[in-house]
């Protein structure tokens, strides 16, 4: 992310943003880009509004334009009533919204978001998603990293799965699900061990400590078929496959630490 935001030099390969090279046109690229870092680095010594105004100044807006822009963005981030408050007492969600608002002072064509909703409560996340979605609707390109697959599913048109610095899959959320997992997942629990017959019934199963995942096209049909074959789990759940299944299928379940 630091390389894409043209702060760090490239370690290898080439990078071109807006058709320009960061090592030559870093300033021009940053002029058209917004960055939302993983860690909030809002200015604690300034008020909410001043944070936006001074940031707009960094981008070369005049004081009057900077102030008008700040008011507009406060409205967008639902922070108008906190304009003159200090940053520190704000909630995590408010700080994130302010950071996102700050990344928009220059009308960016591209916004980089590094795990934008990590550590937020569900209400705060949904509000953020809604705002980000609206930006996308207005033609802003969002480049977002996340560990939350629901977030990726909500926001992305094109998704890139990385594992240990390597790209392991690329596509839209629905494409990836279609390519890497089945349409539905059957989660089964057995009290006295998983019957061996199960593995012959489904083309792909995955044994977890507490349950078995059976990857199937049609969960209801598969479950009915199993009962017919004399397999009766103590608990069963049919759900739609998610990106989380794709991610785990691609990167494995062992802890990546």
């Amino acid at each position: 992310m630091k390389m894409v935001s043209t702060v760090s030099p490239l370690t290898e390969g080439t990078l071109s943003i807006f058709g320009r090279l960061p090592e030559r046109d870093g300033r021009e690229i940053r002029q058209r880009m917004g960055v939302v870092p993983q860690e909030d680095n809002l200015d604690q010594e300034l008020t909410v509004k001043e944070n936006l105004v001074i940031y707009a100044r960094y981008f070369g807006l005049s004081w009057s334009d900077a102030k008008a822009r700040a008011d507009e963005l406060l409205e967008f981030a639902k922070l108008t009533d906190r304009a003159d408050a200090k940053v520190d007492p704000l909630s995590g969600g408010m700080k994130r919204r302010l950071t996102i608002a700050r990344s928009l002072v220059n009308d960016p064509e591209l916004v980089l978001l590094d795990e934008p909703t990590t550590g937020l409560d569900p209400q705060a996340r949904h509000l953020l998603w809604e705002r980000l979605y609206r930006l996308k609707e207005q033609g802003v390109t969002l480049l977002l990293t996340t560990h939350y697959m629901d977030e990726a599913e909500q926001l992305s048109d094109r998704l890139l799965v990385m594992d240990e610095g390597k790209i392991v899959a690329v596509g839209s959320p629905t494409e990836l699900i279609a390519q890497h997992v089945t349409k539905e997942v059957l989660e089964l629990r057995f009290t006295d061990g998983t019957p061996d017959a199960l593995h012959t019934l489904a083309h792909r199963t995955e044994q977890l400590p507490d349950r078995v995942l059976v990857y199937v096209g049609d969960g209801d049909a598969a479950l009915a078929h199993m009962y017919n074959e004399g397999i009766s789990p103590t608990g069963s759940l049919i759900r739609r496959s998610t990106l989380e299944d794709v991610f785990l299928a691609l990167t494995g379940r062992s802890l990546n630490e």
Partner: protein, 270 residues
């Protein structure tokens, strides 16, 4: 009611980079100090106390001192030295404590570096701000000394540009040293370094008072150059030889800025 952003309107618009981007870093500090004026004021109180306590108070016992061939009262001897000291205090305070906070805790510079600002703009803006603070302190101090009747020559006004030079030099070296600080504990070393610098700077006694062997050491310390420069200017006794002091500070500033840039590059951009 949902707020809608007017992204397409592009007022101010992208692609309009400033002529001197470093000034925005300066502006940020002005904004933050608007509410901290008390801290700002507290910074120059100390030299004023020294002037009143040592200069005026002790001066009653000391009597007259000879400077540049004339005899002046002790407080008038001390005052220009304290102008240099207050310029140093302002720059050091700003370039150490404040700089460290912005660098390590507030991540202010990280936030700046993803905007069109470059590392050089950030360092210049910060140093320019510390320098300005030095200039303001020196000006206020000069005004107080004048009110106390301790300033005679119009040349004294030149102590203000001298204070700016002292400010930029100390601030550049201050930021460079601060980039090596690991925690707040390390700042004790700064305090430890400043005290002897202050006492060994000829602020309170002329160089002739120091034992012969220690004079080269005194003459090597930065505040000595500041005090001597300000004192010569205050008494209209400046000569071409004072350019040596100017060169000393220019070198300090140049080295400090270059060093700070190198350090910040490895701390923030790798």
């Amino acid at each position: 009611m949902i707020a809608l952003l007017n992204l397409t309107q592009g007022r101010g618009g992208p692609g309009s980079a400033s002529r001197f981007p470093a000034r925005h870093v300066f502006e940020r500090n002005v904004l933050s100090y608007r509410r901290l004026w008390l801290v700002f004021v507290a910074g120059f109180i100390e030299p004023v106390f020294y002037l009143l306590g040592l200069g005026v108070g002790l001066g009653q016992l000391v009597g007259e001192v000879s400077v540049a061939g004339t005899s002046v009262e002790y407080a008038a001897f001390v005052a220009p030295g304290l102008i240099a000291a207050s310029a140093m205090n302002a720059a050091v305070f700003d370039s150490t404590f404040n700089f460290f906070y912005k660098l390590k805790y507030a991540k202010t510079f990280d936030a700046m570096l993803v905007t069109p600002l470059r590392l050089g703009d950030v360092v210049s803006g910060e140093v320019a701000w510390s320098m300005t603070r030095s200039g303001i302190y020196a000006t206020i101090f000069l005004a107080i000394a004048t009110l106390l009747g301790l300033i005679e020559s119009w040349w004294s006004l030149l102590t203000i540009p001298a204070a700016l030079l002292i400010g930029i030099a100390f601030s550049a070296v201050g930021t460079a040293l601060t980039s090596f600080m690991r925690s707040w504990h390390d700042f004790d070393y700064i305090q430890l370094g400043l005290q002897p610098l202050f006492l060994a700077s000829t602020t309170f006694f002329p160089l002739s008072v120091y034992p012969e062997w220690s004079r080269p050491i005194v003459q090597a310390t930065p505040l000595y150059h500041g005090v001597t420069l300000c004192r010569n200017l205050a008494f209209g006794a400046q000569s071409l030889g004072d350019l040596w002091h100017v060169a000393y500070f220019v070198a300090m500033a140049g080295l400090g800025v270059a060093f700070t840039k190198g350090r910040l590059r490895s701390l923030l951009m790798d």
